[in-house]
């Protein structure tokens, strides 16, 4: 397993009147190399959970294991640095975290901190800028002259430059236009297919269906479900109880099936759906 939580509890401001029990007995195994969605409402514990993966937060009790690194309430990992290199966390609106004069300096900041030589870091930056869909000419520009979507790519290039095994993304496409969102998700899928474990926090069930393998559902600080994407979207009543909409394609198929069609609701691809509807109309 890549990421394992055992009986993890987290309480903010312990022993104060403001104490808040954010994680309650969380058990979770996220497979190495998977692309896992983390879903749930605001306040369900998603952000608290992902901050345990790179030890920005420590459990109040229980244990978190990230590959060979163990984190408990009392045992801080001896080398936080190695853990931070292993698990790259991209917060919401990462473009706000850019700070250097040039894009090159921003991207090489992380690798240099981890002991990579300047020369090697520049080479990495050149690869990363292309990976996020921009060309090398951007490296000498100021990150502050770019559009919101471009800034976000630079921030993500900075995280990828540290070559983490695990990439954790908190709502990476919020505020992007559909084309920008699609390019971003295709990038994460590519990184995942190259062997990295990706954890994606998302409110968009269309994205979850199209790009993820597994889904973890958080509710009131607990992991309520950890299932495959196909299994999750079969549970329409459960999702309705959480006010989570089905993906557009799934709810469309269910509507057709109520009226005489017999279409597999786990179809993800619109072209497959069109063929299926066409087939049933021409039978």
């Amino acid at each position: 397993m890549s990421i394992t939580f055992k009986e993890v509890e987290h309480t903010y401001s312990v022993d104060t009147p403001f104490a808040y029990h954010a994680l309650k007995g969380v058990n979770l195994d996220i497979k190495k190399g998977s692309m896992t969605a983390l879903i749930g409402h605001t306040g369900s514990g998603k952000s608290t959970l992902i901050q345990h993966i790179n030890a920005l937060l420590l459990p109040t009790s229980g244990q978190v294991q990230i590959e060979d690194v163990l984190i408990t309430a009392t045992d801080k990992p001896s080398s936080l640095k190695s853990l931070r290199k292993k698990a790259g966390l991209v917060f919401q609106f990462p473009e706000y975290q850019l700070f250097e004069e040039t894009i090159l300096k921003d991207i090489i900041f992380g690798p240099k901190n981890f002991g990579v030589s300047e020369e090697e870091a520049i080479k990495i930056a050149k690869d990363m800028i292309q990976l996020v869909g921009l060309d090398e000419s951007y490296l000498e520009r100021s990150p502050f002259d770019l559009s919101g979507g471009q800034k976000r790519r630079i921030a993500i290039a900075g995280i990828l430059a540290m070559n983490p095994d695990i990439l954790i993304l908190d709502e990476p496409t919020a505020g992007l236009d559909p084309q920008g969102a699609k390019e971003m998700l295709q990038l994460f899928k590519k990184v995942n297919q190259e062997g990295k474990t990706v954890v994606l926090v998302s409110h968009d069930m269309n994205q979850v269906l199209e790009y993820c393998d597994d889904v973890v559902v958080m509710n009131h600080g607990r992991v309520e479900k950890h299932v495959t994407v196909a299994e999750l979207f079969k549970e329409t009543e459960y999702l309705t109880s959480l006010s989570i909409d089905l993906p557009i394609i799934t709810s469309f198929i269910l509507e057709l099936n109520k009226n005489g069609f017999h279409i597999d609701p786990s179809i993800k691809d619109i072209n497959v759906l069109v063929q299926e509807i066409g087939g049933q109309l021409n039978e």
Partner: protein
Amino acid sequence: MEKIIEVKHLSFGYDEDILTIDDISFQIQKGSYTTILGHNGSGKSTIAKLLMGLLEKKSGDIIVGGIPLSEETLSQVRNQMGIVFQNPDNQFIGSTVRDDIAFGLENNCVDPALMDDIINEYAKKVNMYEFLDHEPTKLSGGQKQRVAIAGILAMSPSIIILDEATSMLDPRGKNEINALVHQLNKDKNMTILSITHDIEEAALSDYVILLSDGHVVDEGKPEDVLMKKDEIERLSLDIPFAYKVSEGLQKLGISITNQIDREKLVKELCQLHSKK
């Protein structure tokens, strides 16, 4: 139909030599649900700020409810509109829900004796009455946006501008706001101007204005604008789901109307299926 907003040859630039909004003209009808669609950086949010008089235009005219926007008429124009921004945390001003709704009323010199009744009425309208003495830290994003809308409604505007107001909300918050806005549009005949990337929302609106690089590139009824596949894709937007399906089926030789409305498409497909 009566026009409530009229924009004529409007231009604006954040820098002296670059126009973010370049000679834009459009009209918005009273009581309509209009969407402005465009890619990141197309100038959508800038238009909202210009309409509210939060930015000063370089040239052109903005006329709201028959009043041309100028320094002298700023408050008259602003009183007709309320805006809900993207980030719920950036627009909560009061220390409680009650204070937040009261803020605009105080600024407008409403008689304090009347204020409690007004606050109660609008808090009830957005289903936040029981939260009146809650602090913002104890509210979800959707609840904060509802309070923002209550504050706007208390000022009795005829237009609400939503600047990607649901894009940072979780599904529950998004549904809450969408339901409230649709109710205000249908039942109270309020004009809604929604700035969005959501093509499915635009498909269900009355009128669509397509923006690209500071220009209006197309406008009209959603069924006319959103089926122009090449144009929509060129603007980094998505094609409505129903159109992708109906177009695909036509290519298979199935006789079906091009649709952007999923409900209508389901209906038509089910009729075809039952006739088999």
